[in-house]
C-alpha cells in the first residue's frame, strides 16, 4: 500500500495534474483497492465539513491583509525606512532586503507574496548602488520564505488544521526560530561581505534625524503585528478573529499611510479569492485522502514498516529530514506539506515527538524547498522581478541562506526548546 501510494503520488504529480486533484485521485485509489467499505459515499459530507470551518476562514483574511499592504504601497515605504537603519552594516542594502521580508512575514502569511513585494521594491536599487546581483537576489528569495514561519502563517494554520494541533501554540513556536533565521541570514550576509567586500555594494550611513523620521514609516507594520498577536494572547480573539481584526487594521493603515482606491481594493479581493480557492482545493483533497488512509489502515502498515527498519527516533527524524530535502527540490511549500502530513506526522508523533515542534521543523524544511532548484518558487518570483540576468545567479545567491536553514534544522533537532519554550511558558490554548 505504501509503495502504491508513493508511486501514485509522484506519478500523478509528474503528469502535472493539479495537486488538489491528485490528492482526490489517490483517495479514490485507496478506496477502490484498499478499503473494505465504499468510502466515496462520505465524499460529499467530507467536502462540506472541511470547508464549513470557522478556523480556515483565517486563510482568506490573512491573504487579504497581505494583499492590501502590498498593493497600497506600504511595502515600499517600509523598505526605504529599513534601508536607513541597516545599510551601515557590511552588505548594506542586502540587510534591508532581509529586514523588510521579516517585517512583512510578521503581517502576511505567504512567502511568495513577501518575496514578490520585496523584489519589486528592491531590485531597482541593486544596480544603482553596485551590488552583486547574486547575493542581492538570493537574499530576497530567502528572506521571503520567512513569511510562512513568523506568525501569522497560513501554512501553520493548515498544519494545525490537518494535525489537530493548537494554532496559537504553533504561532508562538514559530516566533523564535523565525527571528533566529532572520538574524542568521543577516549574519551570513555580513560575514560574506566582510570576506569579499566587493559583493556588498556601498555601505551608507544616514544622519540620525533622518533615521528617526524613517521610524514613523515602520509604526504601522509594528502596530498591526502587535494587534494581531496581542488579541490572540490576551484571549480577546481566536486566530481567526485576530485575522479579521488584521484586515480592518490593514485597511485603516492603507487609508492613513498609503493609497486606497477602488481598483486596488478590487485587485486585493480578486487575489484573495484566487489564492484561497487554490489552498482550499488542496486542503479538501488532503482531508479526503487523510480519511481514506485512516480507514485503509495506513497507520498500522507504516508502524510495521518502521519496526522492520529498526530505526531509533532520532534516526527516523533524520530520514524524514532527508526525504523533505529531496522532495523539496521538486515539490513546493503547501503541496509538499499537505501531501506528506497524512503519512509522516502520525509516524513522527507515534515515536513520541511533539507535533508542534515537528510542525516548526517541517516549516524550515519547506522554506528550504522554496529556494532550492530546479523547482523553487521564490527563485522564479525574484527572477521575474529582475527582468535581466540569468536564473542561475539567483540560485547561486540563495546557497548561503540554504546553509543557514540547514543549521536551523540541526539546532531544532538538538534543542527542541528553541521552538517549544515560548508555547510552554505562555500557553495560549
Amino acid at each position: 500500500m505504501i509503495l502504491a501510494l508513493s508511486i501514485g503520488l509522484l506519478g500523478l504529480l509528474a503528469l502535472s495534474i493539479p495537486v488538489g486533484i491528485v490528492l482526490f485521485l489517490l483517495g479514490f485509489g485507496m478506496d477502490t483497492f484498499f478499503s473494505a467499505f465504499p468510502l466515496i459515499r462520505g465524499l460529499g459530507n467530507l467536502v462540506w465539513s472541511t470547508s464549513n470551518n470557522a478556523t480556515l476562514i483565517a486563510i482568506p483574511f490573512f491573504v487579504l491583509l497581505g494583499e492590501i499592504l502590498v498593493r497600497s504601497g506600504i511595502a515600499t515605504r517600509t523598505y526605504a525606512a529599513l534601508d536607513r537603519w541597516v545599510s551601515w552594516l557590511p552588505g548594506g542594502l542586502v540587510h534591508a532586503n532581509v529586514a523588510t521580508a521579516t517585517m512583512f512575514s510578521a503581517t502576511s502569511g505567504s512567502s511568495v507574496a513577501t518575496a514578490a513585494t520585496v523584489a519589486t521594491v528592491a531590485m531597482p536599487q541593486a544596480e544603482k548602488l553596485g551590488y552583486d546581483p547574486r547575493l542581492f537576489s538570493g537574499a530576497i528569495a530567502a528572506g521571503g520564505t520567512l513569511g510562512i514561519m513568523i506568525p501569522p502563517s497560513i501554512n501553520l494554520i493548515v498544519y494545525g488544521f490537518l494535525t489537530q494541533t493548537s494554532i496559537p501554540q504553533l504561532f508562538l513556536a514559530g516566533l523564535v526560530p523565525g527571528i533566529a533565521l532572520a538574524l542568521g541570514f543577516m549574519a551570513i550576509t555580513a560575514v560574506i561581505c566582510l570576506i569579499r567586500p566587493e559583493l556588498g555594494g556601498t555601505r551608507r550611513t544616514f544622519p540620525l534625524a533622518e533615521m528617526l523620521r524613517a521610524l514613523i514609516q515602520l509604526v504601522p507594520i509594528i502596530l498591526l503585528f502587535t494587534i494581531i498577536i496581542g488579541t490572540i494572547y490576551n484571549g480577546w480573539a481566536t486566530p481567526t478573529e485576530a485575522a479579521a481584526v488584521g484586515v480592518m487594521g490593514a485597511i485603516v493603515i492603507a487609508a492613513l499611510f498609503g493609497g486606497v482606491s477602488i481598483r486596488m481594493f478590487a485587485e486585493s479581493l480578486l487575489g484573495t479569492v484566487k489564492i484561497t480557492s487554490m489552498i482550499m482545493l488542496v486542503v479538501i483533497g488532503a482531508s479526503f485522502l487523510n480519511f481514506t488512509l485512516a480507514s485503509a489502515g495506513l497507520g498500522r502498515e507504516l508502524q510495521a514498516l518502521l519496526d522492520g527498519l529498526g530505526l531509533t527516533p532520532t534516526g527516523l527524524i533524520l530520514v524524514v529530514v532527508l526525504i523533505y530535502i529531496v522532495l523539496g527540490f521538486f515539490i513546493e511549500t503547501l503541496s509538499l506539506m499537505v501531501v506528506t502530513i497524512p503519512i509522516i506526522v502520525p509516524l513522527v508523533v507515534a515515536q513520541g515527538f511533539d507535533p508542534i515542534w515537528f510542525g516548526i521543523l517541517m516549516i524550515v524544511l519547506i522554506e528550504m524547498a522554496l529556494i532550492t532548484p530546479p523547482v523553487g518558487l521564490n527563485l522564479y518570483v525574484v527572477q521575474g522581478a529582475r527582468k535581466s540576468g540569468k536564473m542561475s545567479e539567483v540560485m547561486v545567491g540563495a546557497i548561503p541562506y540554504v546553509i543557514a536553514m540547514l543549521l536551523m534544522v540541526g539546532l531544532l533537532i538538538l534543542f527542541p526548546g528553541i521552538a517549544l519554550y515560548l508555547p510552554s511558558v505562555l500557553g495560549g490554548g
Binding site: 504529480l13 509528474a14 503528469l15 502535472s16 495534474i17 493539479p18 495537486v19 488538489g20 486533484i21 482526490f24 485521485l25 466515496i40 459515499r41 465524499l43 460529499g44 459530507n45 467536502v47 462540506w48 470547508s51 464549513n52 470551518n53 470557522a54 476562514i57 482568506p60 483574511f61 487579504l64 514578490a116 519589486t120 488579541t231 480577546w236 480573539a237 481567526t240 478573529e241 479579521a244 484586515v247 480592518m248 478590487a266 486585493s268 479581493l269 480578486l270 484573495t272 479569492v273 484566487k274 489564492i275 484561497t276 480557492s277 487554490m278 482550499m280 482545493l281 488542496v282 479538501i284 521538486f330 515539490i331 513546493e332 503541496s335 530546479p374 523547482v375 522564479y380 521575474g384 522581478a385
Partner: protein, 182 residues
C-alpha cells in the same frame, strides 16, 4: 469561437470572484463587530457558525475563477521539458482529470443537500440555521465549478485541434500571467 467563449467565462468569473471577495470582507467586518460587542459585554453569538458557512460558500464559488486564472498549483517538472505540442497534451490531460474529478465531487455533494432538505435539518447550534439554506449555495458553487471546467476543457480542446497551441496554453497552461510578471 473558443476564444470568445473563454473570454466570456473569464469575465463572468471575474464578477463572481469579486462578489465572493466582498462576501469575505463583510464576514471580516461582522467578526470584528462581534469582538467589539463582546468587550462591551454583549454578543450576537453564532459568528463562528456564520464564518464557517461563508468559508464553505466562498471556497466553492472561487474555484472556477482560480481555474481560469491558472491558479490551481501543478508540478511543472516533466511538462516544462516537453515541446509545445507535448505541453498542450499535458495541459489537456490535466484539465480532463480535473473536470472529471470535480464533476464527481459535485455529484457526491448532492446527497448532503438532499438529506438536509428531506429531514429539514437544522444546525445543532444557537442559530439553528436550516442547513439547506447554506448548503444549497455551497452545492451550487461546486456545480458552477464543474460546468465552468467542462466549458473550459471544450474550448481548450478546440483550440488545440485547430493548432492554436499558444492560445490553448494561455487558457489551460501552468502559470498565470500575473505570476510570470510579478
Amino acid at each position: 469561437m473558443s476564444d470568445t467563449l473563454l473570454h466570456r467565462l473569464r469575465r463572468l468569473n471575474h464578477g463572481v470572484a469579486l462578489a465572493t471577495g466582498i462576501l469575505l470582507m463583510a464576514c471580516a467586518a461582522l467578526v470584528l463587530l462581534d469582538i467589539v460587542l463582546r468587550q462591551l459585554g454583549s454578543s450576537f453569538g453564532g459568528t463562528d457558525e456564520i464564518s464557517g458557512y461563508v468559508m464553505a460558500i466562498a471556497t466553492s464559488w472561487g474555484m472556477a475563477f482560480t481555474l481560469l486564472e491558472l491558479g490551481h498549483v501543478r508540478i511543472d517538472i516533466l511538462r516544462g521539458r516537453a515541446g509545445r505540442l507535448g505541453r498542450a497534451l499535458f495541459d489537456l490531460f490535466a484539465m480532463l482529470t480535473l473536470t472529471g474529478t470535480v464533476t464527481l465531487i459535485a455529484y457526491k455533494c448532492w446527497p448532503v443537500v438532499e438529506r438536509s432538505l428531506a429531514n429539514t435539518s437544522r444546525a445543532n447550534t444557537p442559530l439553528e440555521t436550516p442547513l439547506a439554506w447554506v448548503q444549497i449555495p455551497w452545492f451550487a458553487g461546486w456545480i458552477w465549478f464543474a460546468v465552468m471546467a467542462w466549458l473550459t476543457f471544450i474550448a481548450a480542446a478546440r483550440l488545440i485541434l485547430q493548432g492554436r497551441l499558444a492560445e490553448a496554453e494561455g487558457a489551460i497552461g501552468c502559470f498565470g500571467e500575473e505570476e510570470q510578471a510579478s
